[in-house]
Amino acid sequence: MFNLIVIIQSIVSGLLIGGIFALLGVGFSLTWGVMKVINIAHAAFGLLASYIAYWGLNLYGIDPILSLFLSLPLLFVTGLFIHRFLIQHITRSKDIIVASMILTFGLAIILENIMLLAWTPDERLITTSYSSKAIFLGDIIIRISNLLGFILSIIGISTIYLFLYHTKTGKAVRATWQDPEGAALQGVNLQKVSMIAFGLAIASSGAGGVALAYMYSFNPPSHNLWLIFLFLVVIVGGVGSIMGSAISGLLIGLITGLSNAFFPMQWINVLLFGLLMVILLIKPEGLFKK
């Protein structure tokens, strides 16, 4: 199947989806890198935003993008609370990464079942007036919903990047990550900084959740499906690296898209996990180590 159109279309579709992987991965990477917290509930928080968007759209006719004005601050504050009251308690343990996985695993189950109670297990879709419309570039089609998701990702990732490199708090976050003791000596309030970073990560997951909801149907157990892609993105890109997550997200989307064109589809996942294993075994720090 070396048809040029098919290939270009695959590249375009893949990159657009990859952007969303990147957005979701960035927050995940941030919490892992900075706080040594592997947040298994990351995608579940994103799902909350998807539901808020769905609610807004179906009950009040509010566009999903606008719903972000509610869900982003809400998730940010939720993140602050979760960090303050849950995560800070496990910093005492011998192995914080493991402890964080167990903690957030429990959190993910709780979130999933709360959503189950609130919204039932029925599948939901976000269908706006522009959901199925597309832009045509010659024979290549770009779906508006995919494009929106991609733009959202660019905005989200850039915001996080700007925050980390051009604001005082952001620089403090980076300092904490690179050298916690040194940062503390310089008067950085480790607790406050971690809380903010966590809140930001959760909020970014919300943006990712809305972007995903434009394209896929969802219900409470859906967050489990996205978890493995989160790990893929973060490890390939390098834990804690924003640029890494962005690029690896695009890369993974690209590979998914292209392999659809060349391989029987059923082997794509084997390919992806195989890729992950290979990267881990050869260059575990990821392709873009900070």
Binding site: I5, I17, S132, A261, M265
Partner: protein, 400 residues
Amino acid sequence: MRKKLFRKIYGFNILIPLFLIFYSFGLGIGAEKPIVIGGSLPLTGTFSATGKWVERGYQFWAEEINSKGGLLGRPVKLLIYDDKSDAKEAVNLAEKVITVDKVDLLLGGYPGTACTAVMPVAEKHKMVYVSMGGHMKSFSQGYTYSFGGPPLMGEWWYLGFFEWMKTVPPDKRPKKAAIYTMNNPIGMALMDSIYKGCKELGIEIVIDEKYNLPLTTADPMITKAKQMKADLLFANGMFPDGVMTIRACKALDYSPKAIVQGIGSVIPEWTRELGKDGDYIFSGTSWHYKLKYPGNDKLIRVAKERFKEDEPPLYFGFGYAWMQTLQQGVEGAKSLDQTKIRDWLKSNEVRTIAGNFKFDERGLPKPFIYLTQVINGTVELIWPPDMRTHEPVYPKPPWK
């Protein structure tokens, strides 16, 4: 004076027996031990969306039969555990209801993997098990106590479609088929009838691929189908991937003569979420509320009044139908003896909202399937002709 007294005593004499009659009647119903029907369903986890509807179908059947005096004169009680969408749990819970709760009858689970795993347990304990089954393989293991009443047989799924296609003039039929199938037991079973049907009708299969769930994007596969000029698309998937496939078809402006979807286009969410884009999609089903079998009108009413659904969901109907089969087995055998029930079911016809079945020694009725098409937001029955509710729309009109 005497007359009054006489009347009083006479009145009492009427009242007392009447009172005693009513009292013993009430006592009778209350004192009857309920018949317990037990099992497990996925009430949480990946399959909870469907599990919930099966539960509601069972509950509705139970309420209805209790209001009519019960089963064999005794009230019916359901004991449904949550197997958390895990087939291993379903097996454990089946053993629990059989050996600890000592239920009188078993209820079928969901999905096919859970049912297939429970069938051997039911067989070993010699209890009748009416369920959707796990496609042909599960009914070929020599289990005598399992029944598909009705079954969900992937192998039969597109029989209706091809039978109908035979009535379409040859020059109007599609020439090339693109098949995309999800990689799980359901998907694998669906492919059976496609190969047979395409061969019979001389349709060339130009694409035949499987994909793993979850499907991240349908764009490349639709692009391929478009490039190969396939004018018949089989999207053998479930709801989420089905939706993605249709949206991709619209966005990429791919309009084959017909799109046939596996599972998902016959549930209300399809139209609710896809709107006009979900129209003209064909699918198969073992039950539809528009079938002219008695009982379907009741389900339509209950679905509307109680659940605010314009159409009774698919598994709501299935749950009810499975219970109907079990009920008739019990009533026919006039007993709760599992072997008697089994033998009765294997030698008599059962009438359900999904059709009338005669079970063979495997526990399967004769192959049947209904062809459906979504037209103007409603699922219509196309085949068999005596069940038709609307003329099919073929070939598929271009996307709006």
